[in-house]
Symmetry: C2
Subunit: 184 residues, 2 copies
């Protein structure tokens, strides 16, 4: 990539993070280009879809979480590992308010820029769940797709301004429902 292009790429991301943080995931792409002082075409060249922008903004978080999931896979007890993972993925998804709908949709859209990250993330969760189930620590009547849906639901709750402050309690209630031991 040419030096000027690289600079534009990085600068667009910085501005996009600000705009999305302020206005949520459905903020105006045009507004991002305007605030970044680049032509609309330049933004579209680097990020052909809104999802491509999301992916670039979340990539490092996704990567960190992936390594973390590997660590957690050998952490005992298995139920605590899954709750810790849940807490971390929900926090990442919340960092870009409203992006969770795109992430959940991406699971069944192979062409989405978010597809690979979300499939990987879902697979990590599935492994953690299956280990807890094998040890009798998680309910056996659910699968990785259900866990992924619960990540969506928890994140959605956190995203709603009118539900502010209830996230922690509801996290406890829902994550407690996955486990067999009882309270978290």
């Amino acid at each position: 990539m040419r030096a000027d292009a690289q600079k534009n790429y990085a600068h667009i991301l910085t501005v996009a993070r600000d705009v999305f943080t302020e206005q949520g995931a459905d903020a105006s792409i045009r507004d991002v280009a305007r605030k970044a002082d680049v032509g609309l075409g330049t933004l579209y060249r680097h990020f052909p879809t809104r999802e491509a922008l999301f992916e670039a903004l979340l990539r490092s978080s996704f990567n960190t979480l992936e390594r973390r999931a590997d660590e957690l896979q050998s952490l005992e007890p298995a139920d605590q590992a899954i709750v810790t993972w849940l807490r971390e993925i929900v926090e990442i998804a919340c960092s870009l308010r409203g992006v969770i709908a795109a992430m959940v949709a991406a699971i069944e859209e192979p062409d989405s820029a978010l597809h690979a990250s979300c499939v990987t993330m879902k697979a990590s969760g599935t492994r953690l769940l299956e280990r807890a189930q094998a040890q009798g620590l998680a309910r056996s009547d659910m699968d990785g797709a259900d866990l992924f849906a619960l990540v969506g639901a928890l994140t959605w709750i956190q995203d709603q301004p009118s539900l502010a402050g209830r996230g922690e309690r509801l996290f406890g209630i829902i994550s407690g429902a996955i486990l067999l031991g009882g309270a978290v």
Copy 2:
């Protein structure tokens, strides 16, 4: 209301139901006016906001649910009453895909056309929850606002096409977490 106005009002609602059913709650208002063969101003005169359209479309369902909640209040056992209520409110909210976000936001927006319905609905749920709690059938560490948030989460899950088919199982898991008896 003049006869022609009344006819327009009813016809807009019929068309709006079709358009929202097909495209979800964020469908184009302009498109509704176009398909109803009325001027844009006519639509805005009858329904000054998108929420006013939602409210009119859901009003009879809300009213039915309100009467139903009164019945359920004296239905034994109290835990079964709350689960039945949950099932019915989630089904109503799902009938207009995507409207749940507006409903949850309306709780803290007194000027929203959806405010009164949602406050009433939340109050019904709270009464049912408190009765179950008094009988030791529901966990005591949550309140009506938490229950309302769970209605939101359950409806959101049902709204996501990529999570189709998991609604029933997740309903069981989450509603089971509210109750103390265990499985639903």
